[in-house]
Amino acid sequence: MAAPLELSCWGGGWGLPSVHSESLVVMAYAKFSGAPLKVNVIDNTWRGSRGDVPILTTEDNIVSQPAKILNFLRKQKYNADYELSARQGADTLAYIALLEEKLLPAVLHTFWVENDNYFTVTKPWFASRIPFPLSLILPGRMSKGALNRILLTRGEPPLYHLQEVEAQIYRDAKECLNLLSHRLGTSQFFFGDMPSTLDAYVFGFLAPLYKVRFPKVQLQEHLKQLSNLCRFCDDILNSYFRHSLGAFSCVNRNQQQTDFGEASLLLDKKRSMPICRNSPSL
């Protein structure tokens, strides 16, 4: 039997097993390749540094970053790309690069930089899942990290205006979504009938964008017009994540499964404290 594999990641909401793109990529890949992953949601725990989430822990290894985790799983013989040709493997790398360069900046912007979205949705969600006093510091730091990444890779003042950069990244993201939609066409997955690494990455990036309810929704609206991409996300959620959705959904917190271990104990403690979830003084 394989050594127990534990994944630490952010929890879920809005019908998703996780709201964090990178965590979702790893969870999807594990489902596709049949890796027995024990998911430890780090909400409301003091567990380790959150900067590196998702983190895979085995008996003797600690692996962070999705690309490295996927490599590690492949070495453990959990390979979702077994049936792909060499050329399809090359295409996978190329499309993942496309996602990271063109789509990721706009996704980061929608979640962490756009003020309406950040202050009404993202910050309260994360702050309510991080113990005090980290809840005061960490969301702000994640937001600054996101803005930093966008500016450093796309251009910062004085050579560029912030509005120009924003307009450009949304344009690139919409083009990227169109390209993905063309490439997917009418097939169920990107390479035929079995899901592979590329499907995991696309699902990880698109699903939060598709499902999370935001006030400012221009990218989401664009995604919803591409019906094959929406169908792709829904299919994966229904086929691979139906059983665990009850455990992960923030609405069903009371029915959380016991394999969350310490997390549930701390949750119970927290629920008895009169902290308002959407308090602006967080």
Binding site: Q65, G89, A94, Y95, L98, E100, G155, Y160, E164, R171
Partner: protein, 269 residues
């Protein structure tokens, strides 16, 4: 550029044909230009050669500062200045020349994806090697980058640029990578390119596209630039179809038209 400005520029671009006196600006070839900038400049030159558009290459020490986006190369056409391969391809398209019109939507998606792969992996690896690997920085980069300027400006500018590049590496998660991991990424990227190219002459069979220009720019520069060690070029040399690809483009689009790319070209066949 905002949508309105872009539409405006496109309209002006479309109004005039390509002039004879178009110029491309880059840093000084012999003493100043670095690996990544040379690759970018060569990619643009290859693209313009493939479109049959005449271009004159001018070397200036302050090319980086003249550029509207801070990156080289940039072209000066008529009374417009456009920098970087992406916007240059759009600009040339507005003037009615395009290499990728014959591709269908799925192929265009693939082409864009592979161009991003080159930018994401090869270009970032080149920047890492130039600015984050201590041996290369000390021996080559600092000296070259500041060479046109007097002391102490040469040191200050070099350190400033190094700090900027390191910030960027950290933001995209390459800050903690070791040189071996970076070389492995380069190998993966070359493997993907080699598999995609296969036995075809160009990436989309008979006709070259901007992807071919970009790949040529980077691979040719890696193969013919002397660094502190040969590890980077060794990774590329493992793939014979990529070597043949570079040789083919060099011959067809540069030597046959009387343009000498490098005076003392080092080829390892």
């Amino acid at each position: 550029m905002s949508l309105v400005a872009e539409a405006f520029v496109s309209q002006i671009a479309a109004a005039e044909p390509w002039p004879e006196n178009a110029t491309l600006y880059q840093q000084l070839k012999g003493e100043q230009i670095l690996l990544s900038d040379n690759a970018a400049s060569l990619a643009v030159q290859a693209f313009l050669q493939m479109c049959n558009l005449p271009i004159k290459v001018v070397c200036r020490a302050n090319a980086e500062y003249m550029s509207p986006s801070g990156k080289v190369p940039f072209i000066h056409v008529g009374n417009q200045v456009v920098s970087e391969l992406g916007p240059i391809v759009q600009f040339v398209k507005a003037k009615g020349h395009s290499l990728s019109d014959g591709l269908d939507e799925v192929q265009k998606a693939e082409m864009k994806a592979y161009m991003e792969l080159v930018n994401n992996m090869l270009l970032t690896a080149e920047l890492y090697l130039q600015w984050c690997d201590e041996a290369t920085v000390g021996e080559i980069t600092h000296a070259r980058y500041g060479s046109p300027y007097p002391w102490p400006l040469n040191h200050i500018l070099a350190y400033q640029k190094q700090w900027e590049v390191r910030r960027k590496m950290k933001a995209i998660g390459w800050g903690k990578k070791t040189l071996d991991q970076v070389l492995e990424d380069v190998d993966q990227c070359c493997q993907a390119l080699s598999q995609r190219l296969g036995t075809q002459p160009y990436f989309f069979n008979k006709q070259p596209t901007e992807l071919d220009a970009l790949v040529f720019g980077h691979l040719y520069t890696i193969l013919t630039t002397q660094l502190t060690s040969d590890e980077l070029s060794e990774k590329v040399k493992n793939y014979s179809n990529l070597l043949a690809f570079c040789r083919r483009i060099e011959q067809h689009y540069f030597e046959d038209r009387g343009k000498v790319l490098k005076k003392h070209s080092r080829w390892y066949f």
